[in-house]
């Protein structure tokens, strides 16, 4: 690969992250508002408040970048960047279309993707610890415990897909889905049907990885004020905000690729996928993100011990059973 092509792709990703975060952030405001019998932002940007987040972002940039006196200064300043870098790495591994449209093409791409998605945990722990605030620290530790517990079901859910596709390469997984005929159906179907158990586990686990209700204990505004972000202000807070919605996008992209066929659409010729592919992926991501936000606005919050129990006693055994089933069916079929 040419180095300039690589740099170009990196720049695209760098532009894509704020854009994706913007669209998702706006969608979130609107979806939540309408579910809550509100209109949400309506003024900024003339049309239904589309400029609201831009205004919010500018507001954050103007604010003073406060660092608490007793904070561990370098760690405190660096933590938001670590969180965002984790998201950037995930974005690099998303296949947005047929081969030239992906940034990297690795044999163990899914492995890299899932590994990168948990990098943000370190940033969260750094933020929680270095803030010198008791609420921040509790939030940080809660986040760490939660992300560790839910990493496992997330990966186990993906293992079912990997077994069925026979590859860790994401393009390979998409291709496998384009050739998968369950009981000899005419149209190939995505893995969400055969891997329905894995899909449900994946959605629940990614909701927990994203720290959204019912798994939003790290923020838990009624208990911890604002969790590990309590002491942050200005553009550093904006970094967390960006990372939150960008990782929403990233997890939805992982889910869409693994279970909904990624950029592939049935009955569309191979050549047209160059244009249709990214659009199809965006739609699929939109569907998943809507499910995430829907759950977020519906459920109350679990308690920390209940959350751990749920992961270890339910999600992980179910994911393991799913792997076993997949193995048996793979051998039988």
């Amino acid at each position: 690969m040419n180095w300039w092509a690589f740099v170009l792709r990196l720049l695209v990703i760098a532009a894509l992250i704020p854009a994706a975060a913007y669209v998702l952030g706006y969608t979130f405001l609107k979806v939540l508002a309408h579910m809550q019998y509100r209109l949400g932002p309506m003024e900024a940007g003339r049309f239904h408040g589309v400029g609201q987040l831009l205004a919010d972002g500018l507001k954050f940039l103007q604010k003073e970048d406060l660092v608490p006196d007793k904070a561990d200064r370098p760690v405190f300043l660096f933590a938001p960047a670590v969180v965002l870098v984790g998201v950037v790495l995930v974005f690099m591994t998303i296949p947005f279309g047929p081969p030239p449209l992906n940034i990297v093409n690795l044999d163990s791409q899914l492995f890299v993707m899932l590994a990168a998605s948990s990098l943000g945990t370190i940033g969260v722990l750094m933020a929680g610890w270095s803030s010198a605030n008791k609420y921040s620290m509790m939030g940080g530790f809660r986040a760490a415990g939660q992300l560790l517990a839910y990493e496992l079901p997330l990966i186990l859910a993906a293992v079912g897909v990997v077994m069925q596709a026979g590859t860790l390469n994401l393009d390979g997984i998409v291709e496998a889905q384009s050739q998968f005929h369950l009981f000899g159906t005419a149209i190939p179907i995505p893995y969400v049907i055969p891997q329905i158990i894995g899909f449900v586990v994946f959605v629940i686990a990614s909701q927990a990885e994203l720290s959204q209700a019912p798994f939003d204990m790290p923020f838990a505004e009624s208990e911890l004020v604002a969790g590990f972000t309590t002491e942050y202000s200005g553009f550093r807070y904006l970094f967390f905000f960006l990372a939150e919605f960008a990782s929403n996008f990233a997890f939805a992209a992982i889910g869409a690729t693994l279970f909904l066929g990624g950029y592939w659409v049935p009955l569309v010729p191979e050549k047209a996928l160059w244009i249709v592919g990214p659009i199809a992926l965006a739609v699929k991501i939109g569907v998943l993100v809507f499910i995430f936000f829907w759950m977020r606005s519906t459920y109350p919050r679990l308690r920390e011990d209940q959350l751990q129990r749920f992961a270890w006693k339910w999600l992980i055994p179910i994911a393991l059973v799913n792997i076993g089933l997949t193995g048996v069916l793979k051998v039988v079929a």
Binding site: L32, M35, Q36, Y37, R38, K134, M138, A213, P214, D216, M217, A220, E221, S222, E223, V225, S297, T298, Y299, P300, R301, L302, R303, E304, D305, Q306
Partner: protein, 388 residues
């Protein structure tokens, strides 16, 4: 090596070993100041909590940030002016606060308000109760992390407040009662509007019942959390839905009927579980009972004057009286002492929240931090009612 040196180094090693052990076994307690500014304390309320990880080992509530000296202020106000003050005790159900005070003044003067007034007072009290409980049903969800029910209950509370406003002109602080009667009659069309809103409130109750109380996570978070046994609750003087959830069928409306509560048919909702879920569920059921009471009152509403015969200048003869009433948050009582004249000599207010909060240090010992918030929410106190 001399013996002194060896002794020193030995003792040093022993100290070091002690220190190591201490580091390994003891996790230091952390003192966490919850409040006075904290999202879940409903105002300026402070809890000094000693926490060991997520577990709360000891809690000391600090009250008084909102003390406004209303009892003292009552001693330099005329009877008509006092109602404006007591509106602000439990600010969510301002109207209900007026009732026992006015009744105590009327009792000392030997006046009884006309039947129509009694009915209107009952209707408005129950509307205030519904408005308060709708806030509770929504905000309790927020405390447990469910944001959505809050907006829906607030929408329907708005309708109830509109009704209150159409009668009294005030939403939070109606200041509508006068000794011997009320300020004004019901506006035209009130009966029909009120009946329609009662249907909305009932529908809201059904929705909250399904969305919140039927939710597994909600049940997991509240069932068996913060259990107040009946004897403990009675010891601390807990009242209202908090004690009814522990199995005590105490309701002033039933036990010592005032206004027209002896003429309407309603159930005293009780539960035996005594936990956060039971307290919240009792309030939900009481909202339903409340709409039932309002419907009956609307049907039986008599016509007649809205003011008894009272002198131009209200002067209360010497004497003392204690009148209590069932307010949304629990039992509220006024101990009124008069030495004659236009102003009360002493007014002692028994507010429900103050006694309900007193159970906290006992109740919060050894709970988890998230449960602490759930328990605070389920006790449902208003800071204006605690601090006066």
């Amino acid at each position: 090596m001399t013996s002194v040196q060896s002794h020193l180094s030995a003792s040093f090693a022993a100290h070091l070993a002690d220190a190591q052990v201490a580091v390994e076994i003891e996790t230091p307690e952390m003192t966490l100041n919850i409040g006075p500014q904290h999202p879940s304390t409903h105002g300026v309320f402070r809890l000094i909590a000693k926490v060991d990880g997520e577990r709360v080992t000891e809690v000391e509530p600090v009250l008084g940030y909102m003390h406004r000296g209303y009892e003292k202020l009552c001693e330099v106000r005329t009877y008509a002016q006092v109602t404006a003050l007591v509106n602000r005790l439990d600010w969510l159900s301002g109207y209900c606060n007026e009732i026992p005070f006015i009744l105590s003044a009327e009792k000392l003067m030997g006046i009884e308000a006309p039947p129509r007034v009694q009915y209107i007072r009952t209707i408005l009290s129950e509307l205030a109760r519904q408005a308060t409980f709708l806030v509770f049903l929504g905000s309790f969800g927020i405390e447990l992390g469910a944001l959505t029910p809050f907006f829906h209950t607030m929408r329907d509370r708005e309708k109830v407040l509109d009704l209150l406003e159409s009668v009294t002109g005030g939403r939070f602080h109606p200041n509508f009662n006068r000794v011997g009667g009320i300020l004004d009659d019901l506006p035209p069309g009130f009966v029909e509007e009120c009946a329609a809103v009662m249907d909305d409130v009932d529908k809201m109750c059904d929705q909250v019942d399904a969305l919140l109380f039927g939710n597994d996570i909600f049940r997991e978070r509240t069932l068996g959390v913060g259990v107040i046994p009946l004897d403990k609750g009675l010891e601390y003087g807990v009242s209202g839905a908090n004690i009814r959830a522990s199995g005590c069928a105490a309701d002033v409306r039933r036990d010592e009927p005032y206004l027209v509560y002896d003429e309407v048919d309603f159930d005293v909702v009780t539960d035996t579980r005594g936990d956060a879920f039971a307290r919240a569920y009792c309030r939900l059921q009481e909202t339903r009972e409340s709409t039932r009471i309002v419907r009956q009152c609307l049907k039986a509403l008599p016509s007649g004057p809205i003011m008894a015969k009272v002198p131009k200048v209200i002067q209360v003869p010497p004497g003392e009286v204690y009148v209590r009433a069932e307010n949304p948050l629990g039992e509220m009582g006024y101990y009124l002492v008069s030495r004659g004249g236009r102003i009360p000599y002493r007014v002692k207010v028994r507010t429900a929240s103050f006694n309900n909060v007193s159970v906290l240090p006992w109740l919060l010992e050894g709970v988890f931090m998230p449960d602490l918030i759930a328990i605070l929410g389920s006790l449902y106190f208003i800071l204006g009612d605690v601090d006066r």
